[in-house]
Symmetry: C2
Subunit: 339 residues, 2 copies
């Protein structure tokens, strides 16, 4: 597969775009944030709305030999709800475009939607519509919507985004890092999964499905946290996105990374690499002033979700350091990466 530089392409797109957010909408309807972030926001007098889209493509983002259609349906929704979670929005609903090949029959589609509905119902994010097309490879393209009821008119900081990290903030991450990618490595290996340990199976489970952190995102926003991203492409890449958008540096303390016992036991030599660049963790990465630490610890104890301080925010121009050393920003597959 040819490699390309997504961020350069997006920069080109941005330069070509003449989006004028102040142009032709009614006075009480504002586009707050458009292209360039993961998501778009708009608001009227009563509500702010956000929307985000993510596509999953067979043999690029998943393989059907280790995803049942129901699991794939669940994961597709979870990935998209994770974007909603990172904004601190409440799910409103979603649209699903499904491109099916000659290998999918009606039963496959029904099983896929079983997973979709299971998750969309449990997160009160109904499937509002969609499109079903033929394609020579299977793809799933989902757009999700979220909302927030506005308490204060004129407040533009309605959702969390990537641009509000402040010097001296602490960097936090939810859950554990690296399990999903480690699970994928096991799935792609020649191991006989019937005889492998529960630790192997735990890592695989974390690749097949991670609960989107919707409730945690809501709590963060409601408690004054202003920035957040979900880790989809790996800690380093997603931290870089925060740092670049906020024009600060981030120093990550490697020994503070939350690593599961399963990851340590199955990959005793590589677990730090999985945690730093694994990807598909779908955990929330955010910063907050030191003064908020006790509140945050309390919130996550009540949610029964692990929360770790993994670094700090420093004056800078958007670089990532690990233990004080400037880090090359790379994901597992070593795609070009420039912001």
């Amino acid at each position: 597969m040819k490699r390309f530089n997504e961020n350069k392409i997006i920069k080109n797109i941005l330069e070509n775009s003449k989006l004028k957010t102040d142009s032709k909408y009614p006075a009480n309807l504002d586009i707050i944030k458009g292209i360039g972030d993961d998501a778009a926001y708009w608001k009227d007098d009563k509500f702010a709305y956000c929307t985000s889209t993510d596509s999953l493509v067979e043999n690029v983002h998943f393989k059907l030999n280790y995803f049942t259609p129901t699991e794939l349906g669940k994961k597709s929704i979870a990935v998209n709800l994770s974007d909603i979670a990172a904004m601190g929005a409440t799910p409103l609903g979603m649209l699903i475009s499904l491109g099916i090949t000659k290998s999918q029959d009606e039963e496959w589609i029904n099983e896929f939607y079983k997973g979709v509905f299971e998750l969309s119902e449990s997160y009160n994010s109904p499937v509002l519509g969609g499109d079903l097309v033929y394609s020579s490879n299977l793809f799933i393209s989902i757009t999700c919507f979220g909302y927030r009821e506005l308490k204060i008119n004129g407040n533009k900081d309605v959702f969390m985004d990537r641009s509000k990290l402040q010097e001296d903030d602490l960097l936090y991450v939810t859950g554990y890092l690296g399990d999903s990618k480690a699970g994928l490595e096991i799935l792609n290996s020649d191991l006989d999964l019937n005889v492998e340990s529960t630790h192997h199976k735990e890592l695989i489970r974390n690749h097949i499905y991670k609960s989107p952190r919707v409730e945690a995102g809501l709590k963060l926003l409601n408690n004054g946290v202003k920035n957040c991203i979900d880790i989809s492409d790996g800690l380093l890449i997603d931290a870089k996105r925060l740092a670049s958008a906020s024009k600060v540096d981030i120093n990550i303390i490697e020994d503070s990374l939350p690593i599961s016992n399963s990851l340590k036991l199955v990959f005793p030599d590589d677990y730090k690499k999985y945690a730093l660049i694994g990807g598909e963790d779908y955990e929330l990465l955010f910063s907050a002033p030191k003064s908020k630490k006790d509140i945050l610890v309390n919130i996550f104890a009540n949610l029964n979700v692990n929360l770790s301080v993994i670094g700090e925010i420093c004056k800078g121009e958007g670089e990532i350091f690990v233990d004080g050393n400037l880090s090359e920003i790379t994901g597992w597959d070593h795609f070009d990466f420039v912001l």
Copy 2:
């Protein structure tokens, strides 16, 4: 390519869905219409919003040997704005998921977005975000948003939909029918386009790009028209969708179908077939009481858009008649079609 019954699949999906539109939203936020229509609507106290998604797949919906990337960008946006037009909404913005293959380079992507931005700017419908992924075949999945400022609280009929046809209404269509499919047939034929007539070229132009009827849709809604659909799959199929959703019959008068001179001249034996089942016309099909005829004729004269009365709405259960004869509902490719 395997054929499948999209409508049966969607019926299954509907049965599996437990969408409860009255469930867990704030009191002043309502999901008005969800899965089962082309589009989803919601509203708060000030605005109603609609959203719709459409995917275009290479070698299913288009071929790159007759679409430049810029033309493809324009068409992708036009097809989606046509859905907004059919609801009578004002465009708010859109998200684009682009799945590219190894045949697309950065220049291709830039050219594609040139077409996207040309159209999205001219319709004040900015690209708010999106996703860029690898795929083994090219696809474009677009979600568009529209809005309407609410004048009357509590009015739920905020957009036009498919379910409001009334007995004794007249059936109208904008523009001309069949040109787009005829243009596609010419493109797929062995004709030497360098020596072909301006009529051939006119038909091809109508396949490559049709202006979305956004202004016409707005005028319809503002003048009390309650139902509308854009003709994407052919007059018969889309008329059937209106009839089924409204539980009425429609009788189409074949001689009243608006046919361009180019279509008559190039396909003298088949032009009625193109008009009835061609598809990709992206014209608006709607009904209105006879009392509105003068107003509508005036509106479309001012818009300089052709408007034709092509039939009438009768008591019934959702059947389509042509000149009084029950019609088999079929598109050009004879896919199964059951609502």
